[in-house]
């Protein structure tokens, strides 16, 4: 019964693409778009499977079942399981980066406003979902033994910390605080990731709103002149 529903969903997806494709009138690469759609469909199924079963119990079969497609489909689109997993990690990492970049663009001019916005993104509904947090931690858990995972994460991390350090430096200069920008930024980034862990492990005690409040309260403590307490 469920399989039928998923089959229907797949057919709709196929139809939708055809319309889109007809509209673009590109002829050199027919059916190129549905390939991408299939890939993201499979990546999203992988995220659900990792969240539901864990990375070590996520098999080609669980992902295919979650996507409502057949066994062989993953090798067709990703060549191997390993590639699927790498692209899944990249998907989550890139999504986070894209959102905080965009947020910075559309946020205020003051360093304090921008910092607030940047911190809040970590607890945004689009990012801070338990399924996605499970994916982050699943890959972090394997990253000691897989340089590929580590590199994908490290790259993102450097960028993020660089921006964070810049904003902290600006605030410190403005306010004449004693704190060291790199230490503050490093601690702040670490705190956000640690709060993610709480959201994953004890969701009953900690909500995204609560975690955001903890972060912002910390900003008030460290930069009292810029983030007035009440």
């Amino acid at each position: 019964m469920l399989a039928v529903q998923q089959r229907v969903a797949y057919i709709k997806l196929e139809r939708k693409f055809m319309l889109n494709h007809a509209a673009t009138k590109t002829r050199t690469k027919p059916r190129t778009a549905p390939k991408e759609e299939r890939k993201t469909q499979l990546i999203k199924a992988t995220i659900r499977s990792i969240a539901k079963h864990g990375l070590s119990v996520t098999t080609m079969a669980t992902v295919a079942r979650e996507a409502g497609l057949s066994q062989g489909i993953i090798n067709l689109h990703f060549q191997s399981k390993e590639r699927l997993l790498e692209e899944t990690l990249r998907f989550v990492v890139d999504e986070y980066r894209a959102i905080w970049y965009k947020t910075l663009e559309s946020s205020g001019n003051s360093a304090a406003d921008r910092l607030t916005a940047l911190v809040a993104v970590g607890f945004d509904k689009r990012i801070c979902q338990r399924n996605k947090l499970a994916v982050w931690f699943a890959f972090w858990g394997e990253s000691r033994s897989r340089p590929t995972y580590r590199n994908i994460c490290a790259e993102r991390d450097r960028e993020y910390k660089q921006v964070l350090t810049g904003l902290c430096a600006e605030i410190i200069t403005e306010g004449g605080y004693k704190a060291r920008a790199d230490f503050v930024a490093h601690g702040l980034a670490a705190m956000i990731e640690g709060l993610w862990l709480d959201l994953l492990l004890i969701p009953a005690d900690v909500t995204p709103e609560h975690a955001r409040a903890v972060s912002l309260s910390w900003l008030q403590d460290v930069f009292p002149g810029h983030f007035p307490n009440n």
Copy 2:
């Protein structure tokens, strides 16, 4: 060649126990001690295997090989792979708790001293080893889908945060700070775990000493009266 050395080591262990046992003169449970020794030997081999290969590639064979023992040994002592993994997590969790309890007992009377000591334990050489950090994150990564793992961690977490909150509350009262004790403690605990992630992912950039410095600098920023900056 290596196997022979390990075999020799095993024999020595066996001999050592016999002497110990003769000394205690207990007769009802003979050979009970070497069983425990074997178990911790296997648990330590599991830690190395998880750090080297990752949890999802850690098999009965990799653990047995790492311990220099045979295939069947794990089922003999732990009944199943799952039990071995649970006891490995418990081993690491209990070790951390034991050390910070002991540290608190032997540290100064002032809340500030005790808090400093408690934070420093997180970066102690006995705790903050990359192999062990890999184990923490490996299990956290699977914990979304395994209530057993989650419970083992959650229990420890509650205790730790409770002590942390108590110390922060004391300091806040003494110094008349505006900060909320539960928020500060929550943020601090999260930061330590986030710094562990950096130690795991980018050990070239972050050392335990550096991470400890970041934490202590954070304490200085939040409680300037209790942790004077220079």
